[in-house]
Subunit: 153 residues, 2 copies
């Protein structure tokens, strides 16, 4: 696994900010021509540094205005139960992220819904439907104060 150089890092930062930047725009920004930019991006994609191109959606416009972090503990902790929970959680669209964590609980879920009523439905009909749930503690997001990337802002 070879490392990336400062030029690669600058390209990644620019594409993170705007994935539609043309090779020419990037080239101007970095005082290069389009060819090396094109070759570098090709390599960064081939080697997996860039996993994919995607879009960022506006939660509010799509009527998903409530974020809740939910700490879940299981009753049984044998491996089969842990992996079963991870499997079950895949099928619940409200659960956007799921982490197996150390500390107070077994899993941390990031849940995104439209409002409190939909969250109630999630807890009562989706989460409770999963077997082996011991306890669940909800932390409602009041403000999303920061949302950045692993490479700078």
């Amino acid at each position: 696994m070879i490392d990336i150089d400062p030029v690669d890092l600058k390209i990644l930062k620019l594409l993170k900010k705007d994935g539609m930047m043309t090779n020419r725009q990037i080239a101007v920004e970095l005082n290069l021509t389009t060819t090396p930019i094109h070759e570098r991006i090709k390599r960064l994609r081939r080697d997996g540094f860039i996993e994919k191109y995607t879009i960022e959606l506006n939660r509010k416009k799509l009527n998903k205005n409530l974020i809740v972090f939910c700490n879940v503990s299981l009753k049984e902790h044998a491996q089969q139960f842990l992996t079963q929970f991870e499997k079950d959680v895949q099928t619940v669209p409200e659960v956007v992220e799921c982490y197996c964590v150390s500390g107070g609980s077994d899993f941390l879920l990031k849940v995104i819904v439209s409002d409190m009523e939909e969250y109630k439905d999630f807890i009562l009909n989706k989460l409770a439907a999963i077997s082996n749930i011991g306890s669940a503690q909800s932390h409602f997001v009041i403000t999303e104060a920061k949302h950045s990337s692993i490479i700078g802002e």
Copy 2:
């Protein structure tokens, strides 16, 4: 604020999966021609449903293999202290996300670093340097079991 129709939603899902899909590819997928696809995407961008085009990076390749959720409580809770903390946290690159939450603590931070040593440095030299910190409790991510979008998988 007008609503989006099922065709718009399908376009958003396709672009979420692959932001580099050409209008023609999307058109073939949805049994349309390139023009309506182009017009719809232009509208979805203009109206803010699509916030931006971007790339997804590979954490491990970039040597960011440790995710930690950190519950932070402040000593003082007057508004000025809350907003000051939110401001301070912006300058710390290791903090990728920051939420003001209800429940046990004031803030939930998502921290991404290369390893435990870098996390130690974050706690001792970055977080502790911020004023008004009452307590901080770390939850280390063992497994990232799910990572999806607000529109389906």
